[in-house]
């Protein structure tokens, strides 16, 4: 497939936004159980939610550049019964709205006790919104992943690993971002976020490594024999039916050499996983600059990862466009 930067930015930016929100609410939940120092006042969760919202909005904006007719984008919410893309279009704004309310409740410090759990734990609006946001964040990961995983003949994508990796890679970048935020607004939380970021990044390496390993062993589901229905081991294309390019030759080929692909693969394995895990483990995220540096390295790695994710998918229609003439 031809990697479109609009979709690369959409999926990586909202992934980081979702991960950041999950990091914020994880910290709040830990604090509720007295496992972390509580962050009172508007100083941490409010700006954190705003930052998550900024990433989500940037991703949403990027997605519009993928559309030929962006002015009709509202129609994309209608086919949620059958289309994962439509479900994503519904869940993303719902999640953004929840993040906004969550941040607002923290900003205004609007925390009346709604009910008290049997264990004596008070439940306030931020907890309710946080749980709703967590559900929506995971739902959005599932929708985004399933947009690709549901296409059964794109076999590199048609695996549960696609959804799992969207969760892990989004989570990793979000927790790294949270470490950077904490370095500014709540230094006591830095080790917590950096630790989880390192763990999730490592899990992301395992998940992405597993999908790379799986995809290397894939056998093509279709062959040129089944594509044109002629039983012969040697079939060579002599003409595509046109001399210039077409939508089919542009949209489904990445047009890069094998060496480039290999370079991108090792590049993203280093930048998105290995280097961030080492830097986080070494405590680089302790300062603002260091944390920002780790996030930028990881985010650049994730852009390369998403580029490779598209490029490695081999569409069966390419069997009809094997040679130009």
């Amino acid at each position: 497939m031809h990697p479109a930067f609009s979709v690369i930015f959409l999926t990586t930016l909202i992934g980081a936004g979702q991960g950041l929100f999950l990091a914020l609410f994880t910290a709040q939940t830990y604090a509720a159980f007295d496992l972390l120092p509580a962050q009172t006042g508007p100083g941490f969760y409010g700006p954190g939610s705003l930052l998550a919202l900024a990433f989500l909005a940037a991703g949403l904006l990027a997605s519009f550049f993928h559309l030929g007719r962006p002015e009709r984008a509202w129609r994309a919410a209608t086919q949620w019964r059958t289309s994962w893309l439509s479900r994503e279009v519904i869940v993303l704004p719902a999640f953004m709205g929840t993040v906004f309310l969550y941040g607002l409740a923290h900003w205004l410090d609007w925390r009346p006790v709604l009910l008290v759990l049997p264990s004596g734990l008070p439940v306030d609006p931020t907890a309710v919104l946080g749980v709703a946001g967590t559900v929506l964040a995971f739902l959005l990961f599932v929708c985004t992943g399933m947009v690709y995983a549901c296409l059964r003949f794109l076999r590199e994508w048609h695996t549960p690993l696609t959804v799992i990796n969207f969760v892990l890679l989004g989570g990793a970048s979000g927790f790294t971002l949270a470490a950077g935020l904490a370095a500014v607004a709540a230094p006591a939380l830095v080790p917590f976020f950096a630790g989880w970021a390192a763990i999730i990044t490592f899990l992301g390496l395992v998940g992405r490594g597993a999908s790379l390993w799986r995809n290397r062993r894939l056998r093509p589901g279709s062959t040129v024999q089944s594509a044109i229905g002629v039983k012969h081991p040697r079939i060579v294309q002599r003409s595509q039916g046109f001399m210039g390019g077409s939508f089919n030759t542009r949209e489904f080929f990445h047009g890069r050499t094998g060496a480039w692909l290999k370079g991108v693969k090792w590049g993203f394995l280093l930048a998105a996983f290995v280097v961030p895990t080492l830097l986080l483990g070494a405590g680089t995220a302790g300062g603002v600059g260091g944390a920002l540096f780790v996030f930028i390295v990881q985010y650049a790695g994730l852009i390369a990862e998403r580029w490779y994710f598209f490029a490695e998918a081999n569409h069966p229609q390419n069997l009809y466009y094997r040679s130009m003439a």
Binding site: L67, T82, S83, L151, S226, H232
Partner: protein
């Protein structure tokens, strides 16, 4: 239920591209148009087509065979491109099974083209919507046309008559009969899309004769050797019977 479809006979197709140009001419000026060409006389011409004819070489020289392969939307009975459409612009008509795109609803996200294993949907760079073969839906029902002309433009144009059009759910239609009796097959059956369009294979008529069928082994004249028959090189009685 009706499922309109094309049956393309690869044994007949000569790769002349008449179906391609006829399709483009009819549809670019019809309700499915325009099918825009960009840079048509420049260095990298490109354009939207509903139908392409490709050429494949089967076998190794000198034992090769050229297969011309017309390729358009197969109007699958279970089209993977339709359920993925987020806007409902892609749909399959209940009454005749034609898969269409509503250009007024399409947002140009190209997701349907990713979901088609055959690569028969083409994005129009001018109108910014997805386009595809309509089976000339604006032509086949046009009561102003003579009955014989109510066929897709590609079918009407094909000089050797390699393209058949009809209802594959009607067992007595010309297309059903061709599929049944002449070995019609679908493309990439492994994905379970159940393409409606079928292709008829290249066919060669060969008779299978066993060695002992050429010479009669139990010829009584050969048993006692009294009156041997003429050798195969000599003229036989048949050569003189008039």
């Amino acid at each position: 239920m009706t499922q309109l479809a094309l049956v393309i006979d690869l044994n007949v197709c000569v790769g002349c591209h008449a179906c391609v140009t006829s399709c483009k001419e009819w549809n670019t000026s019809g309700s499915a148009g325009p099918m825009t060409d960009l840079n048509p006389y420049g260095k990298d011409p490109t354009g939207t087509f509903f139908n392409r004819v490709q050429t494949f070489e089967v076998g190794e020289f000198p034992n090769t065979e050229t297969v011309h392969f017309p390729k358009s939307c197969l109007h699958c009975e279970d089209p993977p491109c339709v359920p993925v459409c987020p806007t409902g612009a892609s749909y399959k008509r209940k009454e005749d099974g034609i898969v269409l795109v509503d250009y007024d609803k399409c947002i140009g996200c190209k997701y349907c083209s990713w979901a088609c294993p055959y690569g028969v949907r083409e994005f129009d760079e001018d109108q910014k919507v997805m386009k595809k073969c309509t089976l000339c839906v604006d032509r086949i029902y046009d009561a102003r046309l003579p009955e014989a002309d109510r066929k897709p433009a590609c079918v009407k144009a094909c000089p050797p008559g390699a393209r058949l059009f009809g209802d594959i759910h009607d067992p007595d239609s010309v297309v059903s009969r061709a599929i049944r009796e002449e070995g019609g097959y679908p493309l990439m059956p492994e994905w379970g899309t159940h393409p409606s369009n079928h292709y008829l294979p290249r066919r060669k008529t060969r008779i299978r004769i066993h060695e002992d069928e050429l010479v009669r082994a139990d010829n009584p004249l050969r048993v006692d050797r009294q009156q041997p028959g003429p050798s195969k090189a000599e003229p036989t009685m048949d050569d003189f019977s008039w």
